[in-house]
């Protein structure tokens, strides 16, 4: 372990390094060999399982049946045949991929818009019982989905919506609202009140203020929440298999994969490729929108 006392050598080193932040943080090596080793072990443990399955998905079916992915290095053969089969063969995952997209997009657009309106009202409009209602909406966050699922499904069956995408869209919208309203309200609230007053003096109504002033200012927050909601819906299994029970036509990727994992538990050439078909979208989102993504995930971590 290096001593923390600023020896001349260290000071010289510090002088050559540009401070990364105002507090003068410097990039340094990990504190000791053991610490580096421990971090490395964790990093490897966190990567190997995914890497193993990824490599498996690219191996020929016969190889997958007879040997583990680590034998690939002595006999490297790659193929996209598994992806071809899982997407367009008997499992036809391409259909479910489309379903996932069709389910996810309205399930993001609708709750985000409704929540924007509601949270603007809770932040800047005056009406009776406003604060009570807001606390009630906030408190609804703690209701686990399970508590609502059975009667909600009953409602959809009674309304004869079963077997269409509507139960999925509406359920995801409802389950997103408490968190969305709470988060967006906080951001709307942060907009300086003088801005509102100035607009009002100029004769702008609530609609104008909402569309022209507020929405552009809270766009980053909306984006963060939208990304969180997108991934939540894309990755969801519970709502999918309850609201689309028995309706193969409208099930998303996750539902189909979970089913494959149960019924064809050892067809690894299909399962491995299938898993990566479903993983690729979130990973792309992660890579390109990492900042929003982390913010959204952290903000929404209580949801469920």
């Amino acid at each position: 372990m290096t001593a923390a006392i600023p020896t001349p050598a260290l000071q010289e080193e510090l002088a050559t390094v540009e401070p990364a932040t105002i507090t003068g943080r410097t990039r340094k090596r990990l504190t000791s060999r053991w610490a580096s080793l421990f971090a490395l072990v964790i990093a490897v443990l966190w990567t190997i399982p995914t890497f193993g399955l990824l490599l498996t998905s690219l191996r020929p079916e016969m190889d997958i049946r007879t040997s583990g992915w680590w034998t690939w290095f002595s006999d490297p053969q790659l193929t996209l045949a598994n992806y071809d089969e899982v997407l367009y063969g008997g499992t036809s995952l391409s259909t479910y991929f489309v379903n996932s997209i069709v389910i996810t997009i309205p399930s993001v657009v609708i709750p985000v818009s409704i929540a924007c309106l509601a949270s603007y009202a809770f932040a800047w409009m005056k009406f009776p019982m406003r604060d009570t209602l807001f606390v009630a909406v906030f408190a609804l966050q703690i209701v686990p989905l399970q508590v609502a699922l059975i009667p909600l499904l009953r409602l959809f069956v009674d309304a004869d919506l079963n077997g269409t995408f509507w139960p999925l869209w509406i359920s995801h919208t409802i389950f997103a609202l408490p968190l969305a309203i709470f988060l967006l309200h906080n951001f709307f609230r942060e907009v300086p009140g003088e801005l509102m007053e100035a607009a009002r003096v100029d004769g702008a109504g609530h609609v104008t203020i909402f569309l022209r002033i507020m929405l552009p200012l809270v766009t980053p927050a909306i984006a963060a929440f939208a990304i969180f909601q997108f991934l939540w819906v894309w990755n969801d299994l519970l709502v999918a298999i309850t609201m689309a029970t028995g309706a193969q036509e409208i099930q998303p990727l996750t539902a189909r994969l979970a089913e494959l994992s149960g019924s064809r538990g050892s067809t690894w050439h299909l399962l491995s490729a299938g898993a990566f078909v479903s993983i690729v979208v979130p990973v792309i989102v992660f890579v390109f929108l990492q900042r929003y993504f982390v913010r959204g995930l952290l903000a929404g971590s209580v949801k469920g």
Binding site: P49, L53, V102, L140, V147, I150, L152, W234, S278, G304
Partner: protein
Amino acid sequence: MDNFEKFGQMALAVVLFVGVMGAILLLVGRARRRVDIWQSLAFVLPALLLLGVGLIYPAIRTMYQSLFDRTTDEFLGLDNFTEIFTNSDMLIVLRNTAIWVIVTPIVATFIGLVYAVLVDRSRVEAFAKAVIFLPMAISLVGASIIWRYVYEYRPDQQNIDQVGLLNQLLVWVGLEPRHFLVDSPWNTLFLIVVMIWVQAGFAMTVLSAAIKAIPSDITEAAQLDGLTGVRMFRYITVPSIRPALIVVLTTISIGTLKVFDIVRTMTGGQFDTSVVANEFYTQGFQLGDTGLASALAVLLFILVIPIVAYNVRQLRKADLR
């Protein structure tokens, strides 16, 4: 339904919705007199209606159904709850849930914290963090499939090679391969590994932000006093980020309490691995016992409330935003 038709339906839904929202805004915007109450109603009513019909009513209905039999015909009082706490299968479900909720938050938070400290301000920090965080992006179904392959078991015979990494490691060190997902009670721990694998990234990210927020004069003063390494971690880092630690622990607990996807995908709740959230699905949607399923959902609700209440209070204190 072909793909074209599906996208058509999607477009229709979005257009319909945008149309309704546009109409609301237009009507409110054209209102001559600024009667605030009507404008406010137009803004909040869609959300309140949806929440009332889709969340509050169903929740009350579930509580009501939990007092009835499987078809909601006969009033049973608290019999469903009695069954949850006496039936031997249900007791295993409760035991498993308890193990999940105790083990996952502690281990995930510990790994996340240690990793955050170790990579803090190192040269490869951004990359090292991305590696641990990535599992958060993957669906729990995907994560379960990834790990099921690690646990994959092949019978121990001469001409059969193991394809699961863990069993191959056992074979390499001269042990017999095992049915990791079948042998109870250890199989629950192997399922928990998946949740830890996912949640450590969350813990690491929040705690890393908290560590960076520790005022540098505190750490510098401690360094001048000769505090380094483990003692620095123990006496400066951990106490400084205590509120964030509690938030992380409780948040992971809540997520773990409701864990469903992992059990469903990996074992389907067989081999004594079921948990409350999975049993809810099995009873309610596969065995058609609405009463018992509702009771399980209510139990889940009751278990979540104290943790959330505590979490919210801590969140206020920690002021992570």
